[in-house]
Symmetry: C2
Subunit: 241 residues, 2 copies
C-alpha cells in the first residue's frame, strides 16, 4: 500500500508541463495567434493533450521514486473481562476504516475460535500472545494497521507484543471490577466466583495494570463515543498524517 508524497506530485507537475507547454507553443506558433485562433488552438490542445496526459500518468506508475509506504500502527486494548474493550475497539475500528487505510480488527474471541485448544494458564496465555504478535507483525510488514482487543492480563505478554510490533498504542480500558460484575450478562464472573471458571482475570487470577499505557479510558466516567474520539484523535495526530 503506497501513498504519493508532495514531492512526487510536484515532480509530476513539472514533467507534465514540459511536454504540455512545448505542445502549446508549437500549436500557437502554427496559428500565429488571434483570439478565435487561440480558442481553436485551445480546442486542438484539448484533444492532443488528453492523450498525452494519459500516457504521462501511465508512465509515472512505473516510477517508484517518491512513493511512501504507509506506516502501520497497532492499537492494543487491555482490561478486565467485560470492561468494554471490544465495544470501544469496534467503534474505533469503524472510525479508522473511514480514513481509507488498510486496517484489520483482531479480537480475542475470533482468535480463540480458530485455535480452540488454547488454555488460560499463564504459559498458555503467553504463548497465545506470541502468536498474536506474529500475526500483527506480518500484517505490519504489509502496511496493515491493527485494532486488537485482548484481556492480556500479564505485563510480560504485553511487553512481548510491544517488542514484536511497531507503533504500539496500549489503551487500558479501566473499569471497576464491581462495575464489570454488574455488567456480567455472560454470567462469567458468577462462574468464576463460584469456582466453575479457573484462571479468570480479576477473580481467581491476577490482572496486572499497565504502567505505560499510551491512553487510559476510565469507563466509569467516559462514554464509548468519548473514548472513540480520544483514541482516533491520538492516532490521527501520531500516525495518519
Amino acid at each position: 500500500m503506497y501513498k504519493d508524497t508532495n514531492k512526487r506530485s510536484i515532480a509530476k507537475g513539472v514533467s507534465w508541463r514540459f511536454f504540455a507547454t512545448t505542445t502549446t507553443i508549437i500549436i500557437v506558433y502554427v496559428f500565429f495567434g488571434r483570439l478565435d485562433l487561440a480558442i481553436a488552438a485551445g480546442l486542438l490542445e484539448t484533444v492532443a493533450k488528453i492523450g498525452l496526459y494519459w500516457a504521462h500518468e501511465r508512465a509515472w506508475f512505473k516510477i517508484k521514486w517518491g512513493r511512501k509506504k504507509i506506516e502501520p500502527f497497532n492499537i492494543w486494548f487491555t482490561g478486565l473481562p467485560l470492561s468494554g474493550k471490544t465495544t470501544i475497539a469496534d467503534a474505533v475500528y469503524k472510525e479508522l476504516e473511514k480514513l481509507d487505510i488498510p486496517i484489520e480488527r483482531i479480537d480475542s474471541k475470533d482468535i480463540r475460535d480458530i485455535a480452540p485448544n488454547i488454555g488460560f494458564s499463564r504459559e498458555d496465555r503467553n504463548r497465545h500472545m506470541h502468536r498474536i504478535g506474529h500475526l500483527i507483525k506480518t500484517l505490519q510488514n504489509n502496511s496493515v494497521s491493527t485494532v486488537a482487543s485482548f484481556v492480556s492480563p500479564y505485563r510480560e505478554s504485553r511487553k512481548a507484543i510491544r517488542d514484536m510490533v511497531k507503533n504500539n498504542v496500549v489503551v487500558y480500558v479501566k473499569a471497576d471490577i464491581e462495575t464489570c460484575k454488574v455488567r456480567d450478562y455472560k454470567g462469567v464472573y458468577k462462574k468464576a466466583i463460584s469456582g466453575e471458571l479457573k484462571n479468570f482475570s480479576g477473580v481467581n487470577d491476577v490482572y496486572e495494570e499497565p504502567q505505560h499505557a499510551e491512553i487510559i479510558i476510565n469507563t466509569d466516567n467516559t462514554s464509548v463515543e468519548e473514548a472513540t474520539i480520544i483514541i482516533v484523535k491520538y492516532i490521527k495526530k501520531n500516525y495518519v498524517k
Copy 2:
C-alpha cells in the same frame, strides 16, 4: 493497496484539460497572440499550471472512484519433505517481489517456530492448516498475496485451505522419495526410517498426492530456475495484469 484503472487516468486527463485549457485561452486572449507573446504565454502558463497540476493531483487523491483493489493470490507448495518446496518457493517469492505487489512468504519452519507445540498427527496437522488458512485469509483481506510452503500431506487439509482462501494456486513439487532420501542433509529420513521420527510423511505416514494441482513441478527433470519461470509466468498470466 490500490492501483489506478485506465478509466481513472483518462478521467483525470479530461478534468485536467478542462482547467488547463481554460487557463491557456484566457492567457492567449490577454496577449492577443503573436509568436513571441505566445512563447511568453507558454512560459507564464508553465508557472501557473504547475501549481494547478499539483492541486489537481492532490484533489484526486480524495476521490475513490476508479481505484482498483489489487486481487491477492496464494501459491501453495506441497510435496514430500526435502522435495525442494522451500528452495523453489524462495526463488518464486524473490521474483514476485520485483513486481511491486504486497506479498508475504510463509514457510512451515517459521510457523512451527512460533507455535512450537504443534504436533504432527493428522488432527494436529489439520488444526495447524486451519490457522495458516486464517493467516492467509487475513492477509488477503488486505490485498497481500502469499507464497506458502508446507508438506501438507492430507487432501482434506489442502481442501480446507482452498475453501478458505481465494485465487489458490497449488504447486505440487514432485520428487521421487528415493531422491529425497539421497538429499537427506538434515538426516530426517534416516531418523524416520529408524523409527526415531513418527508421523513422517512418505515414510511412516501417508503423503496423499494432489489431484487438482494447478502446476506440477517434477524436480527430477526441472531445475529451480525453470520451475521459477513456469510459476511466475502462470501468476503473471492469471493474477498480475
